[in-house]
């Protein structure tokens, strides 16, 4: 991949990558970091990565960066996150479906949230998601199913309250 193709990748994929990271992490600075790191790695590996594979490479790299982030964050913020989630659950009770869904998404396990975001936002196939997350197709399907079940239950319970 040459510099011009790399710049085209920036045009084509940076927004999607940022959305993916932001929806997953809920932290603009970290999402920013992850996008920059992913593109930096793509630039370093530009000789080995085809232009056609760049999107997949970027999302895979971003996913790995996020896994690192979660590992780091888990050590320090587990307690505060619980408090935050409880507070935000209460706060979005009377907002629209989108807000409820966003909040429910945040409550999913990381891998489930990742596969759902890749599937819904980016329109990836099970196979492509498997390539990014190192899972096979069946595992991806099961994770997506479980994630939707969880989301469905949260939405259902909130609708029942309302």
């Amino acid at each position: 991949m040459n510099a011009a193709q790399y710049n085209t990748c920036v045009d084509m994929h940076s927004d999607a990558l940022y959305r993916f990271a932001l929806k997953n992490l809920k932290d603009q600075d970290e999402a920013n970091e992850i996008v920059q790191s992913s593109f930096e790695k793509l630039w370093v590996k530009r000789e080995d990565v085809d232009f056609e594979r760049s999107r997949s490479y970027l999302f895979t790299t971003a996913y790995h960066c996020m896994v690192d982030f979660w590992r780091r964050a888990k050590k320090t913020t587990m307690i505060s996150e619980e408090i935050e989630n409880t507070a935000s659950t209460n706060a979005v009770e009377y907002k629209g479906l989108k807000a409820i869904l966003e909040n429910a998404l945040a409550q999913l396990p990381e891998i489930q949230r990742t596969v759902i975001l890749l599937r819904d936002y980016e329109g990836y196939s099970y196979e492509e998601i498997g390539g990014i997350t190192n899972l096979n197709e069946s595992q991806v399907k099961v994770y997506i199913f479980r994630a939707r079940q969880t989301l469905k239950n949260i939405i259902g319970s909130l609708e029942a309250v309302l």
Partner: protein, 272 residues
């Protein structure tokens, strides 16, 4: 309402995911139409799908990611620093060689500045200006001491100037140090291009134009710190710390310091 089985849930999921054939799809749609619980399940499950594209969210730092498609792409920071150092050495050597070849240049310069208007004490920033100002102050003090020596021969002038250089430590007025010492803040600015001086505030900017990862920022910060240690050692600045901006604005790591002078010492304070 009757509960539906997990197998039915999975089929509804497959329907929404687009995993069913046309035949399977038609069968399931009929089944759902006849079953209230499945209708409810289908409605709820359909709500779990996020909008495909949320265009409102865009990456704000796209400009940082772009790469120059020209020759500069190959120029990593180390090569640029090396080129800058080579250029400085070349100019330095050129200047030295030129002054060796033209030994009277300094005298001519001093002569040309004799009648010039006095330079404002707080106006001069560059070393050249400081040099001229220093010569002028020395010259003025000599003029006061020896009277109208300006009318003498050129040899006499040169001799007098030589004498004034040799004895300038003795001839300097008491406030000479304060008037002619180059402002340390400006020295900082001359030492590295990463440093910009603005209203007594030294800002160290990151000049690398590539995308910056968290790790790279850390190493950059470390590099800045180390470079600055050498830089500050020359100026004898005490205890200066470097750190990146607070989390919200840390796309470009920078450091702000308040620089104050106290007699001949310089005190640098980090601004948060």
């Amino acid at each position: 309402m009757k509960k539906i089985t997990e197998e039915q849930q999975m089929r509804i999921f497959d329907l929404l995911e687009g995993n069913l054939s046309e035949k399977e799809k038609a069968t399931l749609v009929n089944e759902i139409a006849a079953n209230e619980a499945m209708q409810y399940e289908y409605g709820l499950m359909a709500k779990t799908y996020l909008n495909k594209v949320d265009d409102a969210i865009t990456f704000p730092n796209k400009a940082v990611l772009y790469k120059n498609t020209g020759l500069l792409v190959a120029w990593n920071p180390m090569k640029r620093y090396a080129a800058a150092a080579a250029a400085i050495l070349l100019f330095g050597f050129g200047g030295w060689y030129f002054s060796k070849q033209n030994p009277t240049l300094g005298d001519n310069l001093a002569k040309s500045t004799e009648n010039a208007a006095p330079v404002e004490a707080n106006d001069s920033n560059t070393e050249a200006k400081e040099g001229i100002k220093e010569q002028q102050v020395i010259k003025n003090s000599q003029s006061a001491k020896f009277g109208s020596v300006e009318t003498g021969s050129s040899n006499g002038d040169a001799q007098l100037r030589d004498t004034s250089r040799k004895t300038q430590a003795v001839q300097r007025p008491e406030n000479f140090q304060k008037e002619t010492e180059p402002t340390p803040v400006m020295q900082v600015a001359n030492v590295t291009s990463n440093v910009v001086v603005h209203n007594d505030t030294v800002i160290v900017y990151q000049t690398d134009n590539g995308p910056v990862s968290h790790t790279k920022k850390r190493s950059l910060s470390y590099k800045l710190f180390n470079n600055s240690k050498a830089m500050l050692a020359n100026l004898q600045l005490p205890q200066v710390q470097f750190k990146t901006e607070p989390k919200a604005n840390r796309a470009i790591p920078k450091v702000k310091m308040q620089i104050r002078t106290y007699n001949t010492d310089v005190i640098a304070t980090l601004i948060d």
